[in-house]
Symmetry: C2
Subunit: 494 residues, 2 copies
Amino acid sequence: MSGDEPARVHTIVVGAGSAGLTVAVGLTGLGRDVALVEAGEVGGDCTNVGCIPSKTLITLARAVAAAAPEARADAARAALAETRRRRDALRAHEEAWLAGMPRLTLVRGHARLLRGSRGACEVEVSAPDGSVRRLVAGRVVLATGSRPVVPPIPGLEAGARDERAPLTNATLFDLEAPPAHLVVLGGGAIGCEMAFAFARLGSRVTIVEMADRVLPGAEAAASSVVHARLEALGVSVLVDTKALEFERAAGRLRVAHARAGGQAKVASIDAVDRLLVAVGRRAASDALGLSEAGVKVDARGAVIIDGAYRTTAAGVYAIGDVVGAAHTHVANAHGRRLVRFLTVPLPLLPEGDHPSVAFVEPEVGQIGPTLAQLRRRWPDALLAVHKVMLSDTDRGRTSGLDDGFVQVVAMRLTGRLLAATVVAPDASEMLPLLSWAQRRRVSLWQLARLEVAYPALSAAIKQAADAFVFASVPRLAAEFGTYLRWRWRRGPRG
Amino acid sequence: MSGDEPARVHTIVVGAGSAGLTVAVGLTGLGRDVALVEAGEVGGDCTNVGCIPSKTLITLARAVAAAAPEARADAARAALAETRRRRDALRAHEEAWLAGMPRLTLVRGHARLLRGSRGACEVEVSAPDGSVRRLVAGRVVLATGSRPVVPPIPGLEAGARDERAPLTNATLFDLEAPPAHLVVLGGGAIGCEMAFAFARLGSRVTIVEMADRVLPGAEAAASSVVHARLEALGVSVLVDTKALEFERAAGRLRVAHARAGGQAKVASIDAVDRLLVAVGRRAASDALGLSEAGVKVDARGAVIIDGAYRTTAAGVYAIGDVVGAAHTHVANAHGRRLVRFLTVPLPLLPEGDHPSVAFVEPEVGQIGPTLAQLRRRWPDALLAVHKVMLSDTDRGRTSGLDDGFVQVVAMRLTGRLLAATVVAPDASEMLPLLSWAQRRRVSLWQLARLEVAYPALSAAIKQAADAFVFASVPRLAAEFGTYLRWRWRRGPRG
């Protein structure tokens, strides 16, 4: 691929993160020529500044906390260095693997969509050395991911890089040592995960969250458990609190704390060494020439797509964070589904709900909507909610667990699983079965027949299904009536 | 229930362990009067001398190993005491729960079957105070469990209780302090679990196993991983080794080590403080008057039953360890199925394979037969085997795992899951999905559509299913031919 003539391939993939790699590897495996354009590091945010370093640090931080007090500072620096070493090793592994892949060309540089002609898509790539090359293909897949949002608060400007420059996930893992006092703006999954990790590394940690609880997207009961664990570890958790200004030179963060029915109270958090901004992410859809190419984005910058990941421009597809997804496994699922669609252009099945796990303590896993969301969608009389506390399970007793739970929400009568929450030390490994059941329409009637090797914690899933069965059998007739009345009123739309 | 007239109930359940409790609670919940006869402690082996104390000790022993060296001996004694305390608390909880159960009568004493008359079953119960009472019911459920086997080796006689009296699971948890040198006879699940626990409590531990590997019932690759971990913890593992004699006074165990193609080499293990006998269990079917009542047992003492847990005597059923089951969850499954059958006497579906987990390090979970067993049943050309090393998964990388794996064995072409092995830190929580898939005939074609929240280790399950799909697609035609030829030769039986 050189010379003046634009190089022609089957598909151009822009972005070598989880979504883009899945498409590139899938299509080349099926015999198509693919050009994969990447301006940054192969592996995307996940490998470089996301899940991989964060989960590594979470694991290593536990050992640091167990070290003798006098050895802790050195152990913390070593953990941060080891996190970078493992991340770099994985990135090198992925690069070598890509390099050896037939039919795949990795093109380094910034991509820009051009208006294609005669059904072809064109992309212009500006390489780091200033050279520009053009690629032509039948289709382009945008998989440029997302970037952390830095709110427009005085003192958070990205420009000046001083010793108190605000951190995001993109720069956090470059730290050589844990800050003495780390303030985390945003108590979502990333913020809480890093609060646990840095508290264990020896930092004093303060979380500042605007909502009324940490993990605001999770079940409220899950937030309570995690909040209590954060405080037990010495993390200060400020909810209903909004950052107003970061006085960098003084290391002072001014915040406003909302009070019920009253005026917000302004306060200061002093002796702030570093600020981690983890208030959300925004689709990386700028500087790609999208509007000129006819690709529309929504108000949050996410590329607008249909059920087959087609954008508003012919031949241009978009998947992963750039369309508003927020998880590596969702990006991967998008990529797999798009490969299916590009290979066999029949309609795709609906995507279904995606599981999510916050790797906090205990881990918080969710499939399907929260109970509050379900209650806005269904009448309460149709919902069955069963919650099993882990302390009421035999493994919970042998492991001395005093918090955590499994909650299932199902349709009464049919037992169709609508949503499930797992708050447990290894919720990430307990969730796949519930996620499978929810997506494959396995009912709680069926799930009650689950057999779990004693005494795994997953028995709580069976106990919840049992509770549904025991509650449902005596009132089957009544619930059948409720269900019929609801169907009747709702009409035939489904 | 007193006086000379025998008390009459709907069902007499003999044994208040996992199997018996399930039936008693299930039937009383459905409005039947049940007499539950128990000679020992409520809760059976599991609560008192099985899973509950062993899993508690495994958990607590980890903290002991992390304690400072000078504090370890005290911490070990505290861990053993805490294990008993939690066990006793659970037992008290179960007893209180039973006592408050309407329609249930707990009868303390040894049961003996009498020949019933006119379609009724009679049981004679000898109470600890010497009194004898008779119970009459329409049916009797035997759920007396099993007892550890003590092989007829000199020095292992149960009689004399000296300071070196051999231990079994029934006496192990009475220890006040870990023995200086514990020899474990038998390297199965119980033996290995306790080897890990006592090594962490500070004991020198030696395992003596007759077979050529520890966990002889597991996949050989799983045994290797656990063997390496045992040795890394300082446990001496002697395989192909048979105990000959325990010289109690001298604390010396004489063993014979089998050598390939040669004569066994006799050797001694010296300075043995205690011996834990964990070579297997035998159905507790003696002293129940079974043969007089017409209930037949097999050569291993297990009560012979049909697919609905009916023994060879009318009205007498048997479930759990006394019929040869070996797990609490299997006993529970038997109990649930029997309640179903006694309530709705339609044929039961086949029982299916039961999952099993050894709570060793890493945990070893299995559903379905081992690969060696499957190869005796199916031609190799029909089996697809896919193994994913945890070190090749992203969570494995972030957690620094360098052993463990997920293995699936499926029918080629159809992808029907026949068996799966999980060797992982939390295999017990990863296995339920595979167990569900194997029992509910979810194929690997379907399981490849699993979506796992990144980066859970359960992604290895999906990776294994993916590997099956990638290997199968290119050779679908050839495998369809192989399958048809095999079906043709096998004939119509199935």
